[in-house]
Symmetry: C2
Subunit: 350 residues, 2 copies
């Protein structure tokens, strides 16, 4: 159709102009006009020439005009291109991050909470961090102990060193030697098994060996089953959800509310964990950027999401992510996440 369709490819000049548009728009949030570009680049071209190029860029789908007499703003396609090829890594903020973190590294969940907070306050976007998940869990140690006349305590240690316990009410006392026997049988039979390996045959065998107190055994087995299958409640830490309110382009009121709500109930995150769960392979610290519709979440079509996977060690991993407006400082977010991941790696080594 167009006579000079030959010009419809991304030559260096177009790239430079597009990059300027994106950078400026990320910075100001206002549509970018041809004069601004003409002044801000070192191309020394007049605004008229820029206009021609912008016209091409618009035809190619990289920029649009909100209305006739406005400048251009980048499309999702442009952001995609930007994130894929134009990111400009900075690595400034590494230092103070680490200092902040290492104050209190005693417990992993406290650490992750801090990570979420750090990310949110550092980027000014909303952050979320999922607790570590274990590929498969096995029983390492079981112990049953009478506490008083009416209750016994069951403790289960899993191979990831997570300890589960529960007090069981009992109606009649269990004799000490029965307890010892029970402990012995449970440990020898179940040690090292995961939940798929605890079949009916094994359960039957245990019951036959013990002979009595099948009620207690049932209760213990149920507890074990729960311990092995439950996802640790899919623990998710979020922070800075209210940062979403800072960005006027997201303040369409109803949608923002919905988004905040989704954040409060941690819907987004669980969804995200569920969908990307399999993609565990790949680069060590691959960082994914989802722009607008790429998030696959209707309420987030004006948002972008940047995520990363951390690994504590083989098979034990969790996710970190931030959510912000599509007009997001991708450079900063990606580099912050990058250095954060490196820090975490470092910390997990100890």
């Amino acid at each position: 159709m167009t006579e000079r369709s030959g010009s419809l490819d991304l030559n260096d000049r177009k790239i430079k102009i597009l990059q300027t548009i994106i950078r400026t728009y990320l910075d100001t949030g206002e549509p970018v006009g041809s004069r601004t570009i003409s002044k801000d680049t070192d191309l020394s071209l007049s605004s008229a020439t820029i206009r021609n190029e912008m016209s091409d860029l618009e035809e190619m789908g990289y920029i649009i005009q909100p209305h006739t007499s406005a400048g251009r703003i980048p499309t999702d396609k442009a952001y995609r291109l930007y994130v894929d090829t134009m990111l400009d890594y900075k690595s400034e903020e590494i230092s103070d991050l680490k200092e902040q973190l290492e104050e209190k590294t005693d417990k992993i969940d406290a650490l992750l909470k801090q990570v979420a907070k750090f990310l949110a306050s550092n980027t000014n976007y909303a952050s979320m961090v999922s607790g570590p998940r274990y590929k498969s869990k096995k029983v390492k140690f079981i112990q049953i102990t009478p506490v008083d006349e009416e209750s016994i305590l069951t403790v289960i240690v899993l191979d990831n060193n997570v300890v589960k316990n529960q007090l069981l009410r009992i109606t009649e006392p269990v004799e000490q030697e029965q307890i010892v026997k029970l402990n012995f049988i449970l440990n020898t039979t179940l040690n090292g098994l995961d939940v798929t390996e605890m079949n009916l045959a094994i359960i039957k065998e245990i019951k036959e060996q013990v002979g009595s107190h099948t009620g207690v055994i049932d209760a213990v087995l149920e507890l074990i089953g729960n311990a092995l299958t439950e996802d640790d409640d899919l623990e998710v830490y979020t922070s800075g959800a209210t940062n979403i309110l800072k960005y006027p382009e997201l303040t369409s009121k109803s949608e923002t509310t919905e988004l905040l709500n989704a954040f409060e109930e941690k819907k987004i995150i669980k969804n995200w964990l569920a969908t990307t769960d399999n993609g565990e392979e790949g680069e060590k610290h691959d960082i994914q950027v989802y722009i607008g519709d790429e998030t696959k979440v209707e309420t987030m079509k004006d948002c972008s999401m940047v995520t990363a996977t951390y690994r504590i060690h083989e098979g034990v991993y969790g996710k970190i992510g931030i959510v912000g407006p599509k007009r997001m400082d991708y450079d900063k977010v990606v580099s912050t996440l990058h250095s954060l991941m490196a820090q975490l790696d470092d910390i997990f080594k100890n």
Copy 2:
């Protein structure tokens, strides 16, 4: 000054008018004019007469005019009066609440989470529920067990049946008989003590009796100390924080954000728990209403807060509250809380 200052007391007619103003304003959120009142009450008075009365009410500080040619809106003083003397209890929604709750009463924290959710979705305000707090905690049972060559498991059961545990790394194995001895000594010495009773003398006695493995003992004692003193992280469950956005009078943007933020970080709640902690005496289900400045929180000066205390049993209690705009449906909130408290009482009995 005024000639007929004798009319400046709250006679029945004034009360009726004030009540109508409050109810109408709570309902519509618009300033209430004299004509509306004249039509909506059974006083059969003309708007002119109502105007005279309203003028008095304004002088008495119960209502104000946002601007010259607008109707009147209630002041905090009016709300206070309303809450203290004019509440109209309804007891409709009791039933479905209970059905919703009893689905899953296995764990107290899951229950409380549901209570928060229920309250928020039922009232359309933000809700918060604090986990139960224990006046004083004592040790009921201690057990140390070797799990493998490099770790031993310490389990502590408190008298409120809360179980704490931790894996301790050890450098050299501890012999079985030492473990048995350790368990015996710890249980006989510490059983029934609270944290104030574990003084240096007792600790010294334990160490002397055991003779060796003081490192392990220190670790165990530290764990016990933590278990007895930590506030279970002051667990607080919130729900429906985004409901705050539904009320236009709170949408001054910056303040709403601050409020939401405070909610996210659960500042409000901790503050509130801290300040009202002592007020544990009094009526069984006394419900407190804090209006505007009464909340003592700057960011909540346009909000009201309604709180109640639940008791699981003697000395074990927690708090429930909701936060909403000053223009809040106090009737509904108070009656909902009322019936909720009754339900909880019922549930805790089992």
